[in-house]
Subunit: 328 residues, 2 copies
């Protein structure tokens, strides 16, 4: 496979995913339409296995490598949604799985990843080199690295979400719409954009990020990759990455409309409204697209908008905090 | 239509519902399987329009009456999920809709029902006769009463949930399983039991109720209708009814296994685990089936159990209370 991702690659990934991935529902609520002033459709990817779209890319990558490599096992660097997606997809393939995590990652995330069958290797953020540890283990055991976004098989897997959006929107008679995606490194956003280019060309993808961490929006505006000034300071941690990927950015640049940015408070309020009106849990980073649909309508166009709710791995404290935004 | 509900009635209801009802997903989580000690499948009916299965029966009933009657409009008595289901289904049919509610119903529920297009008529619980008010309005305007459970068209509509369960289970290779249903008047439970009798005869429905309000379990044991001693005192208010219905009970008696009862605390904990592991909101009354699957495994049989999460209309305070059960 070359570095380009074609619709044939995406269809092939969707075929491998069939029967394993959940076809997540496209939800709506008259109460949210009222707030947004247009029809809002929510692609509830928080209901995917392991609670986020990451399972799609992980399954695509693990099923797409050669069998001999798969038998040796896979490795990933992540303390979050990517870790859980890779761990479960690896276990379901009978492949050994090593996840490299910082030793100060939340105990629950470490426990969850282990419970999904992965061997978790902890490293000391201050004194150890994560990449060196991973490279040494990969070398010694012949493990294949599953990157979080900047890899063709991963992008093709995330694109399966876009194929579903195209089909589900068509069933509802929606041909033209802006599709808002929660955007970190751009794997989900570029995948969806490629799928829609082929199957729903009148739709436009608009990446959404947390305010102050809008590297993709700024990169799109500048026409070249821009970095975030910091990597901490937002509750939307799941989608904060240093910069768009080398593979994903050219796709975003070619296909996406302007980026949007929302505040942490808006993300929390979108989480709360999703709990109340859609009966789904979204994590802050997975709620930015819905927040843009609800609270940044002036920057959007059209009668219908589709917001991808990319993940739901919020801890109980964050859910409680979101619910507090509904108080009088 | 006679008082009996046949599989032909159920298929006809499903055909009327097609394209309107949401086909809700059948979810699972390895973390819940671990707690239950078997595979647990959750039919996420909380993701149905208006947040509960009630929309199915409401749509079935409104679409199933004669056009002339539909044009005159419908009426229902409810302050809860049935009210919202009837209100939305009526609006979508272009039918006028009157909902009779006690004047002390929560303001949010009244507002929600009005927002779905219904004319809400409030009555004073202490000094007014609800049935007399409803009968007078129905008479004056020729409105058709949509009963909450004891009506063939309603039972046939709820049964569409059972048809989906049969298909979704078969796709996963599950032929035999106990199907746990949250049970109030028995509309959902009898409908699912009828659908499974025809389409998945190796499955057995087990009604689940709140402890102290287990009229269905006691009625099944006694072989005749028994009443609840009280109608308040549980957070599972959505499924507390005086007694099983005259139409539903014979169906339950013929087709269901023994009933189960769970505590309010178990329902809250099941709600919390659904938020954390499935990313869905269930209300207490909609969580009793999952609670039985998770915490009453000794009373169950088989490798797979299916729990219907019948509704998700929990208010923020109840969600917060559920999340508190996860604390250290």
């Amino acid at each position: 496979m070359t570095e380009a991702v074609t619709i044939a690659d995406i269809d092939a990934a969707a075929l491998r995913l069939k029967g394993h991935v959940r076809r997540t529902p496209l939800l709506n609520s008259p109460f949210l339409d009222e707030i947004a002033g247009r029809r809002v459709w929510i692609k509830a990817e928080c209901l995917q296995h392991t609670g986020s779209f990451k399972y799609r890319g992980a399954w695509s990558a693990i099923s797409g490598i050669a069998e001999a490599a798969r038998k040796r096992g896979v490795i990933a660097f992540s303390s979050g949604n990517h870790a859980q997606g890779v761990a479960l997809a690896a276990r379901q393939h009978g492949a050994a799985c090593v996840i490299i995590m910082p030793s100060d990652a939340p105990a629950l995330k470490i426990a969850n990843t282990r419970a999904l069958g992965a061997e978790v290797v902890l490293y000391d953020r201050a004194n150890e080199d994560r990449d060196a540890i991973g490279a040494a283990m990969a070398e010694a055991r012949g493990l294949s690295l599953i990157k979080p976004f900047d890899a063709p098989l991963v992008i093709a897997g995330q694109a399966s979400c876009g194929l579903e959006i195209a089909e589900q929107a068509a069933k509802r008679g929606i041909k033209s719409a802006q599709v808002l995606t929660c955007c970190g490194g751009g794997g989900l956003t570029s995948g969806i954009a490629l799928a829609l280019e082929a199957r729903a060309p009148d739709m436009t993808v608009r990446p959404v990020e947390p305010q102050g961490f809008d590297d993709v929006a700024r990169s799109l505006q500048a026409g070249r990759i821009e970095r975030n000034p910091a990597l901490t300071g937002s509750i939307c941690d799941a989608i904060i990455t240093p910069q768009p990927g080398d593979l994903t950015f050219p796709i975003l640049k070619r296909l996406c409309g302007a980026g949007l940015a929302v505040s942490d408070q808006e993300a929390l309020r979108a989480m709360a409204l999703a709990l109340l009106r859609l009966k789904i849990v979204i994590e802050p980073g997975g709620a930015v697209a819905l927040a843009a649909a609800l609270f940044h309508g002036d920057a959007l166009e059209g009668e219908d908008v589709i917001a991808v709710a990319s993940g739901g791995n919020a801890d109980p404290e964050m859910m409680t905090r979101a619910l507090e935004t509904l108080g009088a």
